[in-house]
Structures are given as C-alpha cells and as structure tokens.
C-alpha cells in the first residue's frame, strides 16, 4: 500500500521541528537586579568595601554620587542649574537606568517624552524620528559635515561629534535663547547619521584600575589565535597610556568620561570641559553659540564647580565632605564605586546549559576578545575592593575592526570608523538594547552582526554558525546569565 502524505501537513511538521529546535534569545533575565540581593531599580549596590564604609566616608560619597546622578538639571533658577543650551536629557539616570541606576538605556525611552514631561518646549523642538517611546535612548552623530548648502554630504570633511537632540529654547528658565535643532531629517536623508547608546557603568572602577601591563599581557595570551583576530589599543594622545571607556575606548578615565558626558549630553560646563558646547558645525565655523544662549544659569562658568563652601549642613562630617566636590567628581566617584553585576548560575536555562554555554563561548573563539576575566587590578588608593581584584568584564579593552556592518565612520583617537572597543559583557543578561547604536534587542542578531566584510569576528561567527541549535542556545543562555 502506498501512503500519501498531505503536503500541507508535511510543511507544518517541518515548521514544528524547526520551531522546536530553533535557538532564541531568552530575553532580559528576570530575578535579582544585577544578580545582587538587595539591589533595586533605584538603588544599585556599591562595592563590598564601600558598603562596609572602608575607608570611612566612602559610603557617603557613593550615596551622594547616586543622588547627584539622579538630579534633574534645569537651565536656571533651581538647585541644579546649567542645563543646555543643547542637551540630550536632563538627568544622568534617565538614560543610565537599566536594570538599575548606572546601567544602560531603559525600555521606556525618556528622550521620547521630553515634550510631554515639560523638559523641552514642543513649540521649538520636535522629537526626532529615531527617538521612539520603546526604542533605545540614543545620542546622534553626523559622520560628515554637509556641504555649504546643506544638500549633500562632504565626505572630505569628517565630523563625528554629538549633535544634541534638543534645545532649551522656549523653556521658561531659558530667557531669550533661540536655537534650532540639528537637521536630523536631512542627515537621515543623506545617510549621514549614526547613533550611540549609553554604556553601562557597573564595575567601571575596576576597569579603570587595571594596569596597562595586564591588558598587554592578555593581548599576548590571545595572540596566535588562528581566528583572524588582531586588535590594538586606543591610547591617550597625551601620555600614551591605554584608554578604555566609551564605545571606542576613547576616554582614559572616569573623571574624563564624566566631565565629557556632563558637557556633551546635558550641556553643563564643568571643571574638565569648562565651556558651553556648540554643535560641531557652530564650533568649526567660529560662530559658536549666540550670546543670548550663553551663561544661561547666570552663575558664570563652569556651571558645575567645586563647592568651596560645603552644600551639606549635616552634622555628619562625611556628608559635609561628600558635598564639597563638583558634580563631575561625584559622578566619577559613584561610577568607580559601583559594584559589577553578579552572574546567575541557574538562570536562564539551568546550570548545565549555562556552564556548557560558557565552554562553547570560549571554544568557538568569542573569549579571544571577550576575555572572561582579567587578573588583577592595581592596589587601590580609593577603596579595598578596587585593588588586587579579578575583573570579569568579558572584554580585552582593545579596539577591533568590526567591518562594514557595524562601521559608523566616526574616528575617535586611534579608532577608525569600523573599530570598536570589545564591549564588556558583564550585565548583558539584563540589558535591553545591544551594539553601539542599540539596533537590536535580540542577542542572536547581535552576535551575527559581528560578521561582515572587514570584521575580525567573522570567523568566530562562522564557528558559532556551525554549532547545533542546542549549543547556540546554551551560548545565549550563558550570555543572559551574565
């Protein structure tokens, strides 16, 4: 007897097999925030020695930094003045909040709600099309300047600077300052715009305290990898040492990182970046910011400065001490003292899957760049937990060519358009958006985006793609456990 099979049923059967075996990103890991007991969405944990207030007063500095990190900045007339005249958001924690304060961008994008929240005037600002309610928090950059008429790109004139999303124009506390937003629509029509999302800050103090020799030795250990990988370091142009913060490892220290972000993202001048920042075009053309948009806080420059008279009236000397530094120092101290995320050993997928995924991650070559652990940090003069500690950041802090697929045509320091710092993976299990521009929320998509022409990672991705769906799933589970 010859049996006939219904074609439709056959197809359905195949689909079911495919669906059952297909690997999928488990999504944001549920459970303890950062894998830490006691952390909440608004209270990230400090390093253990800071929790123990060692040295005395350090805990107060951490908590003060956490408070300032959440301050809502205004243009003038409030407690925290200096916002703008151009900015991306008015609060550090607005964009660094997933899964808790100090993290990356949240699910609900505050940049998309600035008009409804009264942060910017809807009569003078509009929400750019690439800023969406459930999309990534972003900054925008134009890789190239436009030509003189603004109708074409001038690819011989690299730009790459941040084009702040909003202006203070129309706010009640901004006086007569009148500025237009950058030409985002034009930039989009010319394919002359790229995006960056906030980097998470957990464990940043440990990263800062890694001696260069540790990074160089790791480069040795990963040499001869046979995978087509050969990274380099982005070096500070002044002293030649290894820079390590930012998507292209362009910043040397957390103090620098903090000062630049306050200036660029929020428009607040400070002791590291003492002027209000015009847009790149305004700067290079010598026009700068119009006079009626300068010194809007009416307090002079820098808008954020050391408090020679402590702002705290507490009877606790530690609180008084913590109130003396400027905001950028307080932010940097907060970042230095933030504890790194803790890996889950069981979630998602169970301990066996995570353990196997970790081994697969190493075997296919991911760990050549995403070095699981660097050991160890220098002795620390800040707090004991920062010293002589292993750093399980899953990064070599080198810059690598990532090819045409991830290229953003922005050069920072020695990093060219397609070179990026190996993104640390600790905490990736509870992140929502991936890659430098937040283009995906799917880890599998992010992995595969590592392969493109010119990328050092293409062979590793080939190795990954040769694995069974089960092994790929284990890698995804492992990553979401971090």
């Amino acid at each position: 007897m010859v049996r006939t099979q219904h074609p439709a049923a056959f197809v359905v059967g195949l689909l079911m097999i495919s669906a059952a075996s297909a690997q999928t990103d488990p999504g944001v890991r549920a459970g303890a925030i950062n894998g830490q007991t006691g952390a909440t969405a608004t209270t990230p944990l400090p390093l253990a020695s800071v929790t123990a207030n060692n040295p005395t007063g350090s805990l107060e500095f951490f908590e003060d930094g956490l408070t300032r990190f959440q301050n809502v900045e205004v243009v003038s007339g409030g407690d925290d003045n200096g916002l703008g005249p151009r900015f991306n958001f008015n609060q550090c924690s607005g964009c660094h909040s997933q899964p808790t304060i100090g993290g990356s961008g949240p699910a609900s994008n505050p940049e998309a709600a600035v008009i409804s929240a009264g942060i910017v005037s809807g009569s003078t600002n509009s929400i750019p099309s690439f800023i969406t309610a459930n999309g990534p928090t972003r900054e925008a950059r134009f890789p190239f300047f436009f030509n003189s008429t603004g109708t074409a790109v001038n690819t011989s004139a690299p730009n790459g600077g941040v084009e702040d999303l909003y202006t203070v124009s129309g706010r009640a506390d901004a006086g007569s300052c009148s500025l237009q937003q950058p030409s985002f629509a034009t930039a989009q029509s010319l394919n002359d715009i790229i995006f960056r999302i906030p980097t998470p800050l957990f464990g940043a103090g440990l990263v800062e305290n890694i001696d260069d020799s540790t990074l160089l030795k790791n480069q040795v250990a990963q040499g001869g990898n046979g995978l087509g990988i050969s990274g380099s370091f982005n070096r500070n142009g002044n002293d030649g040492t290894i820079a390590r913060f930012g998507w292209k490892a362009q910043n040397k220290s957390l103090d620098l990182f903090s000062g630049e972000a306050y200036n660029v993202e929020m428009g607040i001048s400070n002791e590291t970046f003492p002027q209000d920042r015009p847009l790149p075009g305004e700067e290079t053309q010598g026009t700068g910011l119009p006079a009626n948009c300068l010194n809007l806080s009416h307090g002079g420059y820098p808008e954020d400065a050391t408090n020679f008279t402590p702002t705290s009236t507490s009877s606790d000397p530690a609180a008084v001490n913590a109130s003396i530094p400027s905001d950028v120092v307080a932010f940097a101290m907060f970042m230095k003292m933030l504890a790194p995320p803790v890996q889950s050993t069981t979630t998602p997928g169970g301990a066996t899957s995570i353990s196997h995924g970790s081994a697969v991650f190493n075997s296919v070559g991911c760990s050549v760049c995403h070095t699981p652990t660097l050991s160890s940090t220098q002795a620390s003069n800040v707090t004991p937990s920062l010293g002589n500690a292993a750093v399980s950041a899953f990064s070599d802090f080198e810059i690598h060519h990532m090819g045409t697929g991830l290229n953003d045509n922005v050069s920072q320091g020695n990093a060219g358009g397609d070179q990026f710092r190996t993104a640390p993976l600790w905490g990736v299990g509870q992140r929502i958006f991936f890659l430098h521009d937040g283009r995906t929320s799917n880890l599998l998509t992010a992995i595969r985006a590592h392969a493109s022409s010119g990328s050092e990672a293409s062979t590793v991705v080939s190795n990954f793609n040769s694995l069974s769906a089960a092994s790929q799933q284990d890698v995804l589970n492992f990553l979401r456990s971090l």
């Binding site: 075996s21 394919n191 995978l227 142009g237 697929g405 358009g417 070179q419 010119g454 040769s466």
Partner: protein
C-alpha cells in the same frame, strides 16, 4: 620634494567593488571645482554610501600600484590566488567567501581570505577556511619560521582545546608544510592548521568543521595548489621571482644613507613597514602594513632617501626585502624570549 601618494592597499581588494563609481578624491575635487564655477562636474556624493568604511584608522598602503602586496589576493568562484605569494588555492565546490577580512594588523598579521561552506537550510555551515599570513619580521610570537610558529601555537593552546595531531611536517603539493590538528571537546569542532613559509611570512590554512571528514577532504584538495619553489616550513625566504627577504637588513653598515622620519603625531602605534631594495641599493617599494596616512607620507618621504649597500648573492646584486618598525615599540610583553624586531625610534615632540 615631490609629493608622493600612497595607495590604500585594501581599496583595490576588499573595497574595490564598493568604491567603484565613487572615486572619492575625484568627486570631492570635482565638487569643489564646480563650486568654484570652474566648469561642469559630476554630482557630488549626495549620500554617505552604505557599507563603505570611509573614515579609516591605521590601514595598509604602499608606494606604487604595480608591486604585489600580501593583502591583495584575488578570490573567484574557482580559487584564491596571491600574486605576492605566488600561490593559488582551488576552492572546493560550494565554498566561497562571504566576507572579506580586516586590514593587516600592526603586528604584521594578514587575513587573506575567509571561505566557508554554503549555509544549510537551518543556517548552519559545514565548515570554514581561514587563509592568513604572519609577517615573520614582526611576529609577536617567539618563532622565526613557520615550523616554530605553529609549534608555538600547539604548545600554547588554551585549555578549551585538545591536540589531536601534534605539529609535524607534511608534504602538500610538493612543498613542506607543518600540520597541527586540535579539537574542542565541548563543541566537537575540529581544527586543522597547515602552514608553510613564503617570503618570510608564515602562510596558514586553518580548516574548521564539526565533521573531520570535511577537513580531510579540503586538505586533500590542497594537493592541487600551486606554490612557489621556496615554500617550506623553514625555508621560504624569497628568491626566484620574488626578492630575497632578509631580516634586519636595514641596519648597521647596510644603510649608506639614512633619513629618520619625524613623526609629529602622538598616536603611539607601531608602524611595521616592508621595503623592497633594488640591486642598486635604492628603495623600490614601500609597504606600510599598518599606518595612518600622515605617518605613511612622512615615513615614505624619509625612506625614499635611504640608500643601502646592494645585497650580493653569489657575487651578484639581487633585490631584497626587509622589515622596519617605526613608531612606538611593540608590546613589550609580546617579545619576551625573542629578539626584538629592528626598531627605528621616531623622534617626537616633547609630550608636555
């Protein structure tokens, strides 16, 4: 001094297709001319072209358009061919390059081709082949030839791998290669590395697959390769149609006239350079393996003024090529246990 223009080696290989029709220098210049009212010109680049790396970091370049360089091999549906190495490798049916490799590194490492099997219906691939080269003048590994380099790799495998076949000499297409096989017990992925030395480069063929028979099939296909006579695990020092390669030739009494470049940038990168010296002792070709454009211009202008003692072989002057490292010293941690590459310290401005 006449202006010299160093061509971007990658632009003719990896990015040649993408940039076809977008000769950037041409269009920008023409656009400026049009703006100045000096005549009709093509339209300016209205948009940033997608998928093109326009803003490059350190990259490779060279001083003329005719001398072959390692990264400028060609890949067709039939084979990979390298004029520089005088080799060709026939591709197995159904195997192709999906993505070109990155530019050469500042340690003289080249990804020459990345070849893989066609994707299966489930997205999995059967295996991949990485063809790479390490310039032995600049290798960070304590090895002076292909045999030593692969042996070093075999003895420094990470704990994730187990050696299946320790490094040993094999014959491929009539030339000596060193072969190392290893496996990842966790994934079942197998690797086979076959390497030989040509023009003082270790040229490596690294096969990867879950299925060892796939690797063996591909290794067997290497028998159809064409290779230069010099190829061998410890020979491979040029000659024949290629210049002889001589380590540290640009040193001591071999250099009759030397003009040190003055680098004014503060990038702290290593700049490995290969030069070909003709029979009269003049620099015939300069290959900047990894440098920023302004560095290439400065170093190139200086090197063109160098004069060498002609290299004599059997009483006759012959072309030689050698390596010179400019810029920052190499990673000190990388060179423990081996002789440092010849270093020409660049003079720099006071750091303050």
């Amino acid at each position: 001094m006449r202006a010299r223009h160093f061509r971007d080696s990658r632009s003719r290989a990896a990015l040649g297709v993408a940039l076809a029709g977008l000769s950037l220098g041409c269009c920008v210049e023409s656009w400026s001319a049009a703006q100045n009212g000096s005549g009709a010109a093509p339209n300016p680049p209205a948009k940033v072209p997608a998928g093109v790396i326009l803003v490059k970091g350190a990259w490779s370049s060279d001083s003329d358009s005719t001398t072959p360089v390692p990264e400028a091999g060609t890949l067709t549906s039939r084979d990979y061919a390298s004029p520089y190495f005088h080799l060709s490798y026939p591709l197995a049916a159904g195997w192709a390059q999906k993505f070109t490799g990155p530019p050469p590194s500042d340690r003289g490492y080249y990804v020459l081709a990345q070849i893989q099997s066609a994707d299966a219906a489930d997205g999995r691939i059967r295996g991949s082949l990485l063809i790479a080269a390490q310039d032995m003048f600049f290798t960070p590994i304590a090895a002076s030839n292909a045999l030593e380099l692969v042996s070093y790799a075999g003895s420094h495998l990470r704990a994730d791998y187990r050696v299946e076949r320790p490094p040993a000499e094999v014959s491929v297409a009539g030339r000596s290669f060193v072969r190392l096989d290893y496996v990842s017990p966790v994934t079942g992925l197998h690797w086979a590395v076959l390497a030989t030395q040509i023009r003082c480069h270790t040229v490596q063929f690294t096969f990867t697959s879950i299925d060892p028979s796939v690797i063996e099939h591909l290794v067997a296909g290497m028998g159809d390769m064409t290779l230069p006579i010099e190829a061998g695990v410890s020979s491979g020092k040029g000659g024949g149609e290629a210049p002889l390669c001589v380590k540290d030739y640009a040193s001591g009494g071999n250099v009759l006239n030397r003009v040190d470049p003055i680098l004014t940038d503060r990038r702290f990168n290593s700049i490995p350079v290969r030069v070909v010296i003709d029979t009269s002792g003049k620099v015939k070709n300069i290959h900047f393996i990894s440098s920023f454009p302004e560095q290439a211009r400065t170093i190139g202008d200086a090197l063109q003024q160098w004069r060498f003692k002609p290299y004599m072989l059997n009483g006759k002057a012959v072309e030689v090529e050698t390596g010179i490292l400019f810029g920052a010293p190499p990673n000190r941690a990388l060179i423990s246990g081996r002789q440092e590459p010849q270093l020409v310290p660049a003079r720099k401005h006071d750091p303050t």
